[in-house]
Every structure is written in structure tokens, then in C-alpha cells.
Symmetry: C2
Subunit: 118 residues, 2 copies
DNA sequence: TCATTATATCATTAAGTGGTGATATAATGA
DNA sequence: TCATTATATCACCACTTAATGATATAATGA
């Protein structure tokens, strides 16, 4: 059983991770690892459509993973904290070891064709 | 636009994070940070029901986040890698700063009553 | 073998969630 | 003001997913 404060932490943590748990949001975050981009640039970088990206950006911003800054007609987004990059990096390291296991996880199917050659 | 290999990485990464993105799975992982537990012990630690936990454990194991070991009639689960603990720790640090933002994210509502005192 | 205990699996249901198109808002310049 | 550009919001639909109860499997001991 969990204390209230622990439950609240769990909720926060799961929300945080949910920001990373979708390929679209993840590709947005990845595109922002290099440098801040405006929405149009994110569209180009990810190939997702504008409406979709705006929706995801809204979530990512609400969840504290990105910050936005208005410059004229453009809204520039950047990662809100260096530790977001660290989290992604750590995940990559971890994946390099357990990739097979995750790859074989059939419980949550990959949405798009993953070109899984086998 | 993304190369095939980058898309595959995205898929893997999002799957990995999805393991952390649900409060039930997260509470299972949390309970295993201390020491390996069998299913019954996880039931007690989390307050979730057995079937639910088994389902989540199946996913967590498939995704490489936990490993299981049979001991007699009991199946013991443990975190599959120290970096899983690191990821959780890093998330906690990050949250201590951006908690307000995540907390205010209304896009994905907290499933259970979070006893949010305010 | 049978009963019991521990865990896994399955089907169902209800709710969550992502993608999309249409539309709204907001900034800029003519 | 009007047109244009950049971004946000909204509603809808299809799909995903978590929780549950019932049941299956597997291990143990009587």
C-alpha cells in the first residue's frame, strides 16, 4: 500500500514518462535535442502534421518537458531541462543492452510499420 | 523525416518508456527497487490485484525491465538492470524541479483519485 | 490422486489516447 | 482593413490499453 504522497509521486512520474512514451512526442523531443526549433521546423524534422505536433507540444509543455518562446510569428520550443537529454541518453544506453527484449515485446505493438525484417 | 534505423530506435525507446508510463507498472517497479519480490509480495506492496499485476509483469518482462526467476512455487521478479533504477532516480530529480508543470498537465488525467489536497 | 497455493492467461468492458481536418487565434505587412 | 502566415484548439473516430473475473497451469504436499 502507498501513502498519499507516494501516490502523488507515482502519478507525477508516470505522467513524466508518458511524455516519452509515444513515438511522435519522442521524435519531437529528439529534434529539440540539437537546438530549439519553431513548429514549422519541427514539422519538417519529424514529418508529422502541424495539428498533431501542436497537440503533442501542448502536452509536452504542460508536462514541463519543453518550454516555448514567442519570436514574432514563430513559437520556438526547446527542452526544458538538461536532464531530459540525460534521460534520453540513459535510455539509449539501456536499450543497447536490452533492445532484443523490448523488440520482442508484442504486448504493445508498434503503430507504424517498423520495417521489422523478420 | 527519419531513417529506418532511427524510426526503429524511436519505437524501441517509446516502448521502454511506456513501461514506466503507467502508475501500476511504476509502482511494481518501485517495489522492486528495494529487493526482488514474488508476485504475492508485489500484490501486498502495491495493493493491486493479482491478475492485473501478472499482466503488467508480463509486459515489463517482455520489455526487458524486469527479470523473473522461479523458486519452487514462487516466481521472483527483480529489476533487469541497474540503469532502470538510475532512470527512476533521474526522473525524481527532474520532477523535483518541474513537478508543478507536470502536476498542472491536464491532458492526461490521473486515473485514481490522487488525494490532491488543492 | 487430490487439494491447495502461486502465478499466468484469456475475454470482456470501459476508458484513454493519437491522428486528422476544420477552424480559431495571433502576428505581420500591404 | 484585408490577406497571409504561423500556431493553437476542437471534435470526431479508430485504436489502444488497463482492470477485472473466470479459468488454466504448475508446483507442492498429503
Amino acid at each position: 500500500m502507498l501513502l498519499t504522497s507516494e501516490k502523488l509521486e507515482l502519478d507525477l512520474k508516470s505522467k513524466l514518462f508518458r511524455g516519452f512514451s509515444d513515438t511522435s512526442r519522442l521524435s519531437i523531443l529528439e529534434s529539440l535535442r540539437i537546438k530549439p526549433l519553431n513548429v514549422g521546423e519541427i514539422v519538417q524534422a519529424t514529418g508529422l502534421n502541424q495539428s498533431n505536433i501542436s497537440n503533442h507540444l501542448g502536452c509536452l509543455r504542460d508536462c514541463g518537458l519543453v518550454m516555448s518562446e514567442q519570436r514574432g510569428r514563430f513559437t520556438y520550443y526547446r527542452l526544458a531541462d538538461d536532464r531530459i537529454d540525460s534521460l534520453l541518453r540513459l535510455a539509449e544506453e539501456l536499450l543497447s543492452d536490452v533492445a532484443k527484449g523490448v523488440y520482442q515485446c508484442t504486448r504493445y505493438e508498434v503503430t507504424e510499420g517498423a520495417n521489422n525484417g523478420d
